[in-house]
Amino acid sequence: MTTMPLLEIKDLHANVGAKPILKGLSLTVDRGEIHAVMGPNGSGKSTLAQVLAGNPAYEVTGGSVAYDGQDLLALAPEERAQKGIFLAFQYPVEIPGVSNAYFLRAAYNEIRKARGQDEVDPLEFADLMEERLAYVDMDSSMLSRSVNTGFSGGEKKRNEILQMAVLEPTLGILDETDSGLDIDALRVVANGVNKLRRPDNATIVVTHYQRLLNYIVPDFVHVLANGRILKSGGKDLALELEEKGYDWVTGDAPAGAGAVA
């Protein structure tokens, strides 16, 4: 129907404090696509993820981001979530004292409210939860625990994907969801993400390693270094990177090259 891309990032510049991290990043994502953004440490991968979700600790100093034709940067974080953006955090935040069940239902209902839908009661929500817990192979005992509190690294990442499964975003952004996971946990998390894939949604997978992309197969792979996308290609680019290392791209890049995507 629509020819408008789901996400269109143009010449994005962003700082953390006074330090420029993103230096002219451009990227276009269409519905139904999975994009992998890879790059060495400090290249700006996480900054991109945080800026898209609206973390106020990051300052956008230039460029534009259109989401579904709207100016994304003008929206508060909760408005972005209500419009279908979801960030799976690299380091999920512990919130002692708030149960996972309460948190998930509050988020679910806030998003429904913002969309003019009725809130669901705890019983209805319990049915939904039961179904979605299975996506990430979790049992309901974790619902009564405080959000991420005392969770293992793997549990935290699974909890992120559980939230994603409940909130069903239009644009999911996974920020190094694979780091720190053993291969079994990685498979569980990847399966969850794959189950959520639909023709009308899209996913950006931010990762340091190619390993995750064996399970979540991307349509496009972008190499990010020094705040810009230096190279883009198909899924084979990830394998090539794995083999040759990031130096291959960063060294390979002609001076002053712009974004490729």
Binding site: E78, R80, A81, F86, V98, F103, E110
Partner: protein
């Protein structure tokens, strides 16, 4: 000397108002004498000033600057429906309601008490059963406390709770002190006595609430003894009116192997001070003093706790949390005194504060005086603000800024509220902590 406060007209006017007590219900001669002595002591002490170490962070000049009239006759027009916000939705509690300082039998429900429990109003005890109230004035002293002296001089009513040896009271006893518009410009001095016999067990909830925004002074004193092996869970809910002044003291004496579990919640009054003092007077006892205060606007709320370890092998645990918004001011002063013979004392005190604004203020002062050499006593205090990363995490899930802040406020208070073993109270306070800073 700050003559204007100590020798000001209010203190003198209270001495004049003392004669009004002649028309109050009759009391034993010993009580009359105690009142007279207390009045003289109050006149000598005057209201405390910030030069007084115990009142360094709290100025009572707003109280000293007012002229309050003692309310001795019954007054007010509180109906049962007016009490609903203050009863935690509980049914089956043993409830005594006091309106503007006087017992209101029509609003009360003392039914279903087990044998061996006495629950009566102090005025009736003095006229009909003076032995039930004989300990009033023996468990606390007004010698160095102007407010306790003022209470003692003007005490006319309150609750007497006595639980006999070995009796366990399953359902909470709720002492609900409510004021309404008729309390404007009045001072009330509820006086309570709680006596638990050997191996007795009970839960007593004192609530101080208002259905109006009248300006008044509520100055209760509660004396408590917890017998050998007995356990008292004692709650204080301070939800006075927005313009009210509240100064209250609870003083507890604990016998061997007894447990005193106190929780103080404070969200009301313009200016409040709560003193909770307990003495571990027998071996093997334990005191748990927890509390939560939630303040906004220009509210000032001061808690002073004092735990005296007078015997060996006792423990004390203390966790006070404060949530402060706007220009509010919180004060926490936790005294722990360990006597030379109180070896193997195990004490821990924590005070954590969440500041929701740049203009809110907390003064926190641990005060440990340890005279025994084989003890374990720790204290710690933290002051923090809403965690910005946690706030962003919640917002990134679609939860609006205001609700996210409220959730994190609730989360901050959650661990101290989890210690409350009375479900209705815990759930009620959880709701209040979610809704307090809308």
């Amino acid at each position: 000397m700050s003559a204007s406060v100590i020798d000001g007209s209010p203190a003198e006017s209270y001495i004049g108002a003392f004669d009004a007590l002649a028309s109050a219900p009759p009391v034993p001669a010993a009580v009359r004498a105690m009142r007279r002595a207390a009045l003289e002591r109050f006149a000598a002490l005057g209201f405390p000033t910030t030069h007084d170490e115990d009142w360094h962070y709290t100025s009572v000049s707003p109280i000293a600057g007012q002229e309050f009239m003692p309310l001795t006759a019954r007054s007010g027009s509180v109906r049962r429906a007016d009490l609903a916000p203050f009863t935690f939705g509980a049914t089956g509690w043993h409830t005594m309601v006091f309106v503007n300082g006087r017992y209101a039998p029509d609003l009360s429900d003392r039914g279903g008490l087990p044998a061996g429990v006495t629950l009566m109003d102090l005025a009736t005890a003095w006229s009909d059963a003076p032995e039930a109230a004989a300990q009033v004035g023996t468990l606390t002293s007004f010698e160095n406390s102007a407010f306790t002296a003022l209470n003692t001089a003007f005490m006319v009513d309150g609750a007497v709770v006595r639980v006999a040896h070995g009796v366990e009271v399953d359902r909470p006893i709720h002492l609900l002190f409510v004021t309404d518009a008729a309390a404007a410009q009045a001072m009330m001095h509820p006086r309570n006595l709680v006596v638990l016999g050997r191996h007795a067990r009970a839960t007593v909830i004192e609530s101080y609430v208002s259905t109006s925004d009248a300006l008044y002074l509520c100055n209760p004193v509660t004396e408590v003894t917890v017998g050998d092996g007995a356990t008292l869970r004692h709650f204080k809910m301070q939800r006075e009116g927005a313009r009210a002044f509240h100064v209250g003291t609870i003083e507890t004496r604990q016998a061997r192997d007894s447990h005193y579990v106190s929780f103080s919640f404070a969200a009301g009054a313009a200016l409040s001070r709560t003193n909770i003092y307990t003495t571990l007077g027998g071996e093997g006892g334990g005191a748990t003093l927890n509390g939560l205060y939630m303040l906004g606007g220009e509210q000032h709320c001061d808690h002073q706790t004092q735990i005296i370890h007078a015997q060996p092998n006792c423990f004390s645990r203390e966790l006070y949390k404060g949530v402060l918004d706007d220009r509010s001011h919180g004060v926490f002063n936790g005294k722990v005194l360990v006597h030379p013979i109180a070896q193997k004392t195990d004490g821990k005190q924590t005070n954590n504060t969440l500041l929701l604004s740049d203009t809110a203020q907390i003064d926190t002062k641990p005060q440990l005086e340890i005279f025994a050499d084989d003890v374990k006593c720790t204290h710690g205090a933290t002051v923090g603000q809403i965690d910005q990363l946690a706030l962003f995490y919640l917002e990134s899930r679609g939860i609006g800024h205001a609700l996210a802040r409220r959730l994190l406020t609730y989360a901050f208070a959650a661990d101290v509220l989890e210690t409350i073993e009375v479900d209705e109270v815990r759930e009620g306070l959880e709701r209040m902590s979610l809704e307090r800073f809308v």
